[in-house]
Symmetry: D2
Subunit: 161 residues, 4 copies
């Protein structure tokens, strides 16, 4: 199952070519990941609805850090500035021992015709124990929470090799 | 009348002190200004509701640029990361010949108790003709559109002098 | 006495108007402040020459945080992208009990003719004890180190009141 | 032959984990690419020395845009804040018809012991005619200028497939 997370652009994401900057897109996908998969404290003043399984507490001070080990991103068409949020699909493509792969496809804003795929991406995250700074295994609770969002890996078209 | 515009934080707004970075806040206020006062083409695919008067077309390629001449910002308390959008009040504090002052007060997220003021700010914008690169006068239509959002200037507490 | 600190632009500082973004400039001045006034551990692998008095350790984990209380910035002319670093003058305009004012004037790159002033700015910093999160007084050692860099405050031309 | 380009960190590159943010690194590599391979107008006021072949004019208004089609990046170890620039090796791993691959390896600052590899990355750039917005072939002059910087592709260790 894939989650849909809206990506709201900022003016500062746009570079002098008048399109979303290539590095800014990676920051946007970081936001998607946080919105989809990070837990927030129950009963906090910050009572936003959880869009996803949100079992991972990745905030500063958390016991587990999620470090990025590898990322791949494919830019299929330039994205202009717009207020309507882009429609990002995000899912888990692999659940390993201490790491997982999060994959993304970013589409034109919901409702825009035709629906166009603009970006494909993949991130490998490693769970690291904040105290020991060593990788730690994915727990059974995490595995159960993420399992419904497992889906087939994205296929990169332009990969050279 | 003051507009309320939500400010959604990003992880990248947070610096190594675990608070919203001082320069990032100015970028956030830029987003507020755009959301409140920039026009979007009628009938565009980007059919977001207009929150404010939105008479100014500040996008690349527009006939008028709105350049920032002066900004002042007061940081009253550090802002931690949260998913719930901050509640920003924004209004026009002065309508001059070719320039206007936009003022802001950023509060804790809507519904959070107590409601705390975190930031005060003021921006002076100059309308510049894109072709001549010279300041141009505010039109009567613009003046009429902005007039309802005129309100008293923000008062800075820590101003030295 | 004023320090001269070079400001190297990045492509990401440039927005869709093809000039240095107004909020990005505040980030650049943050870099100037760090380069001018932050201490680095003696004998560290990071053996960069100190440009200024550098008595303040503002890094994460330091005993004192320097929080920004107030900033003011005046944009006199748009700054295009260029590789040659801008020439920034920076100095201390006021040494208070627990706070100080750092002022800046950003000029066109060194050697460029004519030398043009592009930006004026002022930041008020409060020294905060990291453990108690309360303001703490400037020490005599800090005062002595900063004293040579005391100079007259910047004069803002466009200040509205 | 590989070029060495220094990467100067900014405070804003550091996130709440106190390390260089994963998306920020992609922005840093963009700077490396610009510094290594972008041309500047001869005799401009901006008389910086050219570090690389610099035959490509990628600035706004240029006849050719260099769009990013694909990027891959591997993060081997977290990078803390430091003033000493990171030492980045950058080279051309492939010269195609209308596209080229730029590869990077980012090391600890020059002179630091031991010299550690922190990041590997690869970008595929497509040359696009600004007027027609269509890909255009690499010219013979460009090919000749880039040829000396051709070197073997980076090898990613963690690539999942």
């Amino acid at each position: 199952m894939k989650l849909h997370v809206p990506i709201r652009l900022r003016w500062s994401d746009i570079d002098a070519y008048a399109h979303v900057n290539n590095a800014a897109m990676l920051g946007l996908l970081e936001e998607v990941r946080i919105q989809a998969f990070w837990a927030l404290p129950a009963g906090s003043a910050d009572g936003t609805r959880q869009d996803g399984p949100a079992i991972l507490d990745g905030r500063p001070g958390a016991k587990t850090l999620s470090l990025i080990a590898h990322q791949e991103i494919e830019y299929l068409r330039p994205i202009p500035y717009g207020r309507q949020p882009l429609d990002c699909e995000v899912w888990v493509a692999r659940l390993g021992g201490a790491s997982l792969d999060v994959h993304y496809e970013v589409f034109s804003p919901e409702g825009a015709e035709p629906r166009e795929l603009t970006t494909r991406a993949a991130s490998t995250l490693v769970l690291v124990d904040a105290a020991t700074q060593q990788p730690r295994r994915i727990t059974e609770a995490e595995r159960a929470a993420w399992a419904p969002y497992l889906d087939a890996p994205v296929v990169f078209a332009h990969r050279k090799r």
